[in-house]
Symmetry: C2
C-alpha cells in the first residue's frame, strides 16, 4: 500500500490546494515544541500538500480521493495542539478545516457550528444572538477551532464549573465523515460521542458540532495575592465550593511564577507572591467580596471592573491560565517544560504539598480548579525546569507513587497522553471507519501495535525519517 | 407600653385598610397547621387590622404610626410559611405586602423587584425580558412572594445547583425600613444581608430586593422508578454529581409515597415503587439519557417532552417536591406530619439507611438533592405518621444521635427552627432597628428571653390568650 501523492493532488487540483513548501511546513506543525521529547521526535515531520475544504461535500471528496490513492490524511484545526496531534507523521494530506467556520443555528442552551469556527468567533456569535457562550474553552480561545478543541482538547476555562469536555452533557452531537471507499456521514450522540471526541481525528472527520451553551456575562477579572502557597490553593478551592458564587476560572500560581513569568504583573508583586487569577460573574461580585473579606490572608491586587494604577493592564485573565501559563514561562525561560497532573478529591492539598516539599523550586506548581464527579479538584499544569529526560521521568514516577495521576504531555499518542489504556470505542470505530488506517497515522498505538506494554515512549515505526 | 389600636387605625384610615374580621382572620394565618404542635399553639392567633401599602413611603408611614402607638407589626407576603412565621402572636397590624409587586429592573444575571412580587410572576417577567429566571424558588412558586421567600424561606427548586438562599451570592442586595420613631431606609449587601434575610420580619421590613438570575430553559420534567430506595437515592445523588448535566430539581420518594399520595402518578406505579422526580435542561437531555442508559436499575416512567399515555398529566414536577410532598400526603392522610433533616456529606446514604431501618414505614423518606459547600447532600423532608408528641420527640432525638441535623418545623421561633443558636447579627440589628420590639413579636427568643436553654418548646409569654 503506497501513497500516490501525485495522483491525489491531480484529482484534488480543483479545490483550494496549497503546494507551497514553506506554508506546507508551517501547517504541518503545532505546539509540539512545548515538550523537549516531542521536539526531538517530530521536528522534521512534514505533509505533502494542504487542502482546505469549504463544506462537507468537499471533505467527502478529499477523503474519497485520498482513500483511493492510499494517502494519509491528518486534520488540522488551528494547530495549537501541544502534543503533535495535528502533525502528519507519515506525510500525505493536511486537511485544513479553517474555511468550514459557519455558525449554523443558535438556540437556548445550544449552538450548531462547523468545526473550523474559532472559539472566540463562536462565542461572539452566540453572545450577540442571545447572551450565551460556550461552557468551556481552551485558553487558546482566540486562535483554536471548536473542532480541534473537541478532537484534541480536554477542557479549560469553565471546567471549574462544568467539568471536562468528555463529561456527559458537555458535547451534544457530532457529525462525522468516515475514510472509506465511499465515505459515510454519521451522527453521534450519547455513548457514541466518545468514539470521535478526543480521538485526534484518527477515525473520522468531524463536520458539524452541537454544543451546550451557558449564559455569557461580562466576567470580572481578578488577581488575589497570598504569602503562602497552601493559602492560595485553599482559597481557590474554597471559593469554587461556594455554590452561590459563579466563577469561570480559578488558577493558582506558586511564587515566583507571577513575578518571573507574568511580565505585566511583575511590577505589582514580589518574588515571594503566590497568585490566584479569577474570573467572577459581575452579579457574583458582592458574594465574592464578602468571601474575600473573611480571608485576611488574601489581598486583592487587581480587578478589571474598577479603575486601577496599572500602567499596562494585564489583558484577559484566562490567558494566564491553563496551557498559557507554560507559554508565558517558556518565553522567559526556554528550559521550562511541564507536566499535566490530576490531584483528585479529597486529599489534593496533601498531595500537592508532598510534591512541593520534594521538588520546589525545580518544579513550580500551577493549579487549575476543576470539577470531577461533582467535586472540586485540581488539575496541575506543573512547570518543570528541564534538565534530562531521566530526571523528568523520575519526577513523573514520584507523582505516580503518591497517587497523583499524570497525563504525559511528552507523548504524541492518544494512549500515552491519556490513561495509558486503549479506548476500545475509538479503536473499534477506527476499524469500521478507517479500514486502511489512513487517518492521522501513528497516533493510536492500539491500532498499530496492540501488544504495546507502555514501558518507554512509543515511537511510530512508519514515521518519516529525518531528511 | 400598651398598643393603641384605635389611634393607629384612625391615623392609617387613608390607606388601604382592611377591618373585616373574616378577612383579618384569614390574613392572620399561614400553613402553621402542617404541624400538630403549632396547630395547638397558634390556632387562635389573630391580628387587629390589615394594611396594604402601595409603596415604600406608605410602609414608612405605617411603621411610624404603629411605633407611635406601640402597635405590633407582623409582615405578610402570601402567608405560605409553614412555621407560623407570619402569624401575629400579639395581634396588632398585619402589614400585607401584596400591592408592592413591581419588577423594577432586569439585567444580565440580576433582577431588582419589590417584595410583594409572586415568584412565578417575577420569573415570567425575567423570562420574557431576557430568558432568565430565579436561581431557586420555593415549591410554593405559584403563590409565594419573593419577600416572604427571603424573610421566611431557605431554598428549594434550584438548590441542587445553587445551594441555599443563605449562601453567599444568592441574594445581592436588600433595602430595609426600620421600626423607629423616624424609620430609616438602609441598603444591605455582603455580610449585612444576614441581618434581615430569614429573620421573619422581626427586625426590619424589606422594601426592595436584588436577586441573581440563572438562564431560563424549558425544563423537561421526568419521573424515574426504582425497585429499591437506596438505588433511587444513589441515582439522584450521582446524577447531581454529573457536572455537565444541568438539572433544576431532584426529589426522591420512598415507596409507597408515589402510589399512596401522588394521585395522578398512582395509576402508573405500585405500592413498591420508589420514585425520583427530576427537571433536566432540554439541552442536557442527551447527557441525561446516556446516564440513564448506564443504570439498568432505573426505569423512565414519564417525560414531559414526549407524547405519553397518561390520561391526566402530572402537572409541574416541582410541585411534587420540597414541602409540596407533605401537602399532597396530608390531603390523603391528615395524620401525616413531617421533619426537616440535613443528611450531610459524605455519609448521607448510611445515615438515611439507618433511619429507614429503624423507622420505615412509620416515617417515610422524602429527600431533596442540595448543594452544601460545593458537595451534593440531601435535605430530608421526612413524612411522619403522627401519633404523640413524645414519639415525635423520640424520632427527632434518634436523628440527632446519629448526626442527622434536624431543623424543627414544629416551632415558631427563629432559633428553634434553625440551629438552636442565637444569630447575633439578627439580634443586634433588632436592637438598633426595632427598639420597642414591635416587629413580629415572639419569634426571636434571644430578644425576649436571652437565657432560654432550649429544653422543651419555647412558648411566647405575651401570646394572645385563646378567646
Ligand atoms: C498556549 C496553549 C494553551 C492551551 N490551552 C488549552 C486548554 O486550556 N485546554 C485544552 O483542552 N487544550 C489546550 N491547549 C491545547 C490546544 O490548544 C487545544 O486542544 C485546542 O483546542 C486545539 O484546537 P486547534 O484548532 O488548534 O486544533 P489542532 O491542534 O489543529 O488539532 C487538534 C487535534 O484535533 C484534530 N482535529 C482538528 N479538527 C478536526 C476535525 N474537524 N475532525 C477531526 N479531528 C480534528 C487534529 O487532527 C488534531 O489531532 C493549549 C495549547 C496551547 C499551545
Ligand atoms: C406547600 C408548601 C411548600 C413550601 N415549599 C417551600 C420550599 O420549597 N422552600 C422554602 O424555602 N419554603 C417553602 N415553604 C415555606 C414558604 O412557602 C416559603 O418560605 C415562602 O417563600 C414564603 O413566602 P410567602 O410570601 O408566603 O411569605 P409569608 O409566609 O407571608 O412570610 C414568611 C415570613 O417572611 C416575613 N416577611 C414577608 N414579607 C416580608 C418583607 N417584605 N419584609 C420582611 N419580612 C417579610 C413574614 O413576616 C414571615 O415571617 C413551603 C410552604 C408550603 C405550605
Amino acid at each position: 500500500m503506497t501513497a500516490d501523492i501525485a495522483a491525489a493532488k491531480a484529482a484534488l487540483a480543483y479545490l483550494d490546494l496549497d503546494e507551497n513548501p514553506i506554508s506546507i511546513r508551517a501547517k504541518s506543525r503545532d505546539f509540539f515544541w512545548y515538550s523537549p521529547a516531542l521536539k526531538d521526535a517530530l521536528d522534521h515531520v512534514v505533509g505533502d500538500f494542504v487542502v482546505t475544504p469549504r463544506n462537507e461535500a468537499e471533505v467527502i471528496e478529499i477523503l474519497r480521493v485520498c482513500y483511493a490513492h492510499n494517502v494519509p490524511v491528518t486534520t488540522r484545526g488551528a494547530g495549537t495542539g501541544n502534543y503533535g496531534q495535528a502533525m502528519p507523521l507519515s506525510g500525505g494530506c493536511i486537511l485544513h478545516m479553517k474555511a468550514m467556520d459557519n455558525v449554523k443555528e443558535i438556540h437556548p442552551g445550544r449552538v450548531i457550528a462547523e468545526p473550523g469556527c474559532i472559539l472566540k468567533d463562536l462565542d461572539a456569535a452566540t453572545k450577540a444572538h442571545s447572551g450565551q457562550e460556550l461552557r468551556m474553552m481552551s485558553s487558546t480561545y482566540a486562535t483554536a477551532t471548536i473542532g480541534g478543541f473537541i478532537a484534541g482538547g480536554s477542557g479549560g476555562i469553565g471546567s471549574c464549573k462544568w467539568g471536562a469536555l468528555r463529561d456527559l452533557g458537555n458535547i451534544i452531537r457530532l457529525r462525522v465523515v468516515t475514510m472509506e471507499e465511499e465515505p459515510r456521514i454519521l451522527e453521534f450522540t450519547g455513548e457514541e460521542l466518545a468514539r470521535v471526541s478526543h480521538a485526534y481525528g484518527t477515525n473520522g472527520i468531524i463536520t458539524e458540532i452541537e454544543m451546550p451553551l451557558a449564559p455569557a456575562y461580562d466576567w470580572t477579572d481578578l488577581f488575589v495575592t497570598f504569602d503562602t502557597f497552601p493559602a492560595a490553593a485553599q482559597f481557590a478551592a474554597d471559593l469554587a465550593e461556594q455554590d452561590g458564587i459563579l466563577i469561570k476560572v480559578a488558577s493558582v500560581f506558586e511564587a515566583p511564577v507571577a513575578h518571573d513569568y507574568f511580565l505585566r504583573v511583575k511590577p505589582h508583586v514580589t518574588p515571594e507572591t503566590h497568585l490566584v487569577a479569577l474570573a467572577v460573574a459581575p452579579h457574583s461580585m458582592d458574594g465574592f467580596l464578602t468571601f474575600l473579606g473573611r480571608r485576611p490572608e488574601a489581598s486583592l491586587l487587581y480587578r478589571s471592573d474598577q479603575e486601577n494604577d496599572w500602567k499596562r493592564g494585564p489583558g484577559p485573565i484566562f490567558e494566564y491560565g491553563w496551557n498559557h501559563t507554560t507559554l508565558r514561562a517558556l518565553k522567559v525561560d526556554p528550559s521550562i517544560t511541564y507536566l499535566q497532573v490530576r490531584y483528585g478529591f479529597p486529599d489534593y492539598m496533601e498531595k500537592i504539598e508532598t510534591i512541593r516539599k520534594e521538588f520546589s523550586p525545580e518544579i513550580l506548581q500551577h493549579l487549575e480548579v476543576m470539577r470531577e464527579s461533582g467535586k472540586v479538584i485540581f488539575a496541575g499544569l506543573t512547570m518543570v525546569k528541564f534538565t534530562t529526560q531521566e530526571r523528568l521521568d523520575e519526577i513523573i514516577r514520584r507523582h505516580e507513587e503518591i497517587g497523583a495521576l499524570i497525563f504525559n504531555p511528552h507523548r504524541y499518542t492518544l494512549e500515552e497522553g491519556g490513561r495509558q489504556t486503549v479506548d476500545d470505542r475509538q479503536l473499534r470505530f477506527k476499524q469500521e471507519a478507517d479500514p486502511k488506517g489512513l487517518l492521522n497515522p501513528g497516533k493510536m498505538i492500539s491500532w498499530d501495535d496492540p501488544d504495546w506494554t507502555f514501558d518507554g515512549m512509543y515511537s511510530y515505526p512508519k514515521i518519516q525519517s529525518p531528511a
